[in-house]
């Protein structure tokens, strides 16, 4: 079990030791980002701008102009909402060397309510332009993505989570764009956003045998590899702690349309026009069937209502 943030921070330390010229910017988010060990090793390389996300992202672009590889690390809901124009103009349009870590995305802040839920970041990120977009499912993916982000010259967004999770790979070879097939099953392929891979994998403990795919790299995306995965199954399911508008379900749906595939798509996420409520992450996942029980019900061919009921019994 490992926290993705620990993997990110140890990778940053490692890369800085190897001469990466990194700076990390936080908006009072030193504990949220768990950046402490990096700050201890490189105190002048952590820049805390206080609770001021617009300024953080604008400054990040400026620090990048001075030659640094700049990471910003703060809560994802505020990154996207407060600094959207800075992300667009100063980072993406200007192609400055800024890597943005969106912490505690999705329902990670469940009981803190909708102000703290970040459920539209992928929709925004994939429309900004010049932005690579990643969502690791575990520490091994997070480490590989951070290494790639440092090497890639230009804007990167990484959607992060904060739970301690099992590590999926001992020796992970990350190729940007490539789907990460976690297990191969029979009729159904389940595409998962970020850490929902773990909910999907657990369906196998309930007698189900879907193919489970993690998409750590939303952009770039190896479309043909995804299309091949869809073609080799009878049905497609997507799972995401994100609005159904513009998220993973939309991405897969667009590919189905573009490549004229006939597989039915069942997308689990937040329906359009709904605000999430203050609840535990587990309860929120249950509400929208974005969990193991919801997936098991769907795989067993139950109706949505029955799926919810089954999920509630879980």
């Amino acid at each position: 079990m490992q926290d993705l943030r620990d993997a990110v921070v140890s990778t940053l330390i490692d890369q800085q030791e190897q001469g990466a010229n990194l700076s990390v910017m936080v908006a009072d988010s030193t504990s949220t980002s768990k950046i402490g060990p990096f700050e201890k090793a490189y105190p002048d390389r952590v820049i805390n701008v206080g609770i001021a996300e617009q300024n953080m992202v604008g400054m990040a672009a400026g620090v990048a102009l001075s030659g640094h590889v700049v990471f910003t690390a703060n809560a994802a809901p505020f990154l996207f909402a407060r600094s959207n124009e800075q992300m667009k103009n100063d980072v993406c349009y200007s192609e400055t060397n800024v890597k943005m870590l969106g912490l505690n995305a999705g329902f990670a802040y469940g009981p803190l309510g909708a102000t703290h839920h970040c459920t539209n970041d992928i929709a925004i990120a994939r429309t900004l332009g010049n932005l690579q977009v990643f969502a690791p499912a575990d520490a091994s993916q997070a480490e590989a993505i951070v290494k790639h982000a440092i090497k890639h010259k230009g804007p990167v967004y990484i959607r992060m989570d904060s739970d301690k999770l099992p590590v999926l790979h001992d020796d992970y070879h990350f190729i940007p764009g490539e789907p990460d097939v976690l297990v191969e099953g029979d009729d159904v392929v389940v595409f998962t956003l970020g850490t929902l891979a773990h909910e999907a994998l657990a369906a196998r403990d309930h007698g189900c045998n879907p193919t489970v795919v993690s998409l750590p790299s939303l952009w770039p995306l190896d479309e043909l590899a995804v299309v091949e995965l869809i073609k080799s199954h009878k049905k497609v399911i997507t799972m995401e702690e994100h609005a159904l508008s513009g998220g993973l379900g939309t991405i897969i749906g667009e590919l189905i349309l573009k490549h004229r595939l006939t597989q039915p798509l069942q997308a689990f996420g937040i329906p359009a026009y709904e605000f999430t409520h203050s609840s535990s992450r587990a309860a929120l996942r249950r509400q929208f069937s974005i969990d193991t029980a919801g997936l098991v019900a769907a795989l067993n061919g139950l109706s949505t209502a029955a799926a919810r009921e089954a999920a509630n019994e879980h």
Partner: protein
């Protein structure tokens, strides 16, 4: 003042006058542009490039200039053309299709002149603060970040977030210049969202505040080159929107009006005087 400096200031005035001619001609030709805003800033830009900034080394080891008031792109292009940093023939492309000279500055189009894409307001100061800080962290504290702010854009809160940061990080290699022409799109800054007492506001945020005549190269130069007090510096440059042309000066509608044939002829004649 020594003779050499006096000669330089005279040269800057001559170049700025040429920049003004280009502004009128370019915007007339394009039928577009922020004429008033361009004329407000050319003396500041020419003074920085001709007498202040050290741009001898390759980036990132240079003094750098960021145009926060991106709608003044035309003033930057025309100053560059007058200073010999841009082929004046290119000015004919201003705001045309697929042009090098976009309506707001684009780094990818003119990488040597434009540090970062601007146009959304309230962005330049945070970027300049980051650049000044990055230079300090990298052991290049002598390399300065200059940013030209419109006064109207000071209503954006991001400026004051950045001002707090500049002060916290003691960025004495940051020089912000406010093009204080007191006009914005919809009218007078003091009617729309009052900024005064502006100097006190900056002081309260930990800045060293200087004022200058934003149309006098010597006055600008004096303010910029004063010995540092170890603080970030802001210079309130008193300017006139549309400066240099009698019928444009201090007239709000010239923010983004362009001269017609007759106005162009009259403006060019005034610049000959």
């Amino acid at each position: 003042m020594d003779a050499q400096k006096s000669k330089t200031f005279q040269e800057i005035k001559t170049v700025a006058r040429q920049a003004r001619r280009y502004v009128l001609q370019m915007n007339h030709h394009a039928g577009k542009g922020h004429t008033g805003a361009d004329l407000s800033e050319v003396d500041i830009i020419c003074t920085l490039y001709m007498a202040v900034m050290d741009r001898g080394e390759a980036r990132p080891d240079q003094d750098r200039f960021i145009l926060s008031k991106g709608h003044g792109a035309g003033g930057l292009y025309c100053s560059a053309a007058a200073m010999g940093l841009l082929d004046p023939a290119v000015l004919e492309q201003f705001m045309g299709d697929d042009t090098l000279l976009a309506g707001h500055p684009v780094h990818q189009k003119l990488p040597d002149l434009i540090e970062i894409n601007s146009g959304g307001l309230g962005h330049g100061l945070p970027i300049a603060v980051g650049l000044a800080l990055g230079n300090k962290i990298s052991g290049r504290a002598h390399r300065r970040a200059f940013v030209l702010l419109g006064d109207g854009e000071l209503a954006e809160g991001s400026n004051w977030e950045a001002a707090m940061s500049a002060s916290k990080f003691k960025l004495d290699n940051l020089i912000a210049i406010v093009d204080r022409n007191r006009l914005q799109l919809a009218g007078k800054t003091e009617d729309i969202m009052p900024l005064e007492p502006l100097a006190d506001k900056w002081r309260a945020f930990g800045f060293e505040v200087l004022e200058c005549d934003g149309h006098d190269p010597e006055s600008i130069h004096t303010a910029v080159t004063q010995p540092s007090q170890g603080k970030p510096r802001v210079i309130l440059a008193n300017t006139e929107k549309g400066h240099g042309i009698s019928f444009m000066a201090n007239v709000p509608s010239w923010h983004h009006a362009v001269p017609n044939d007759q106005q162009l002829a009259q403006g060019l004649a005034e610049l000959e005087e």
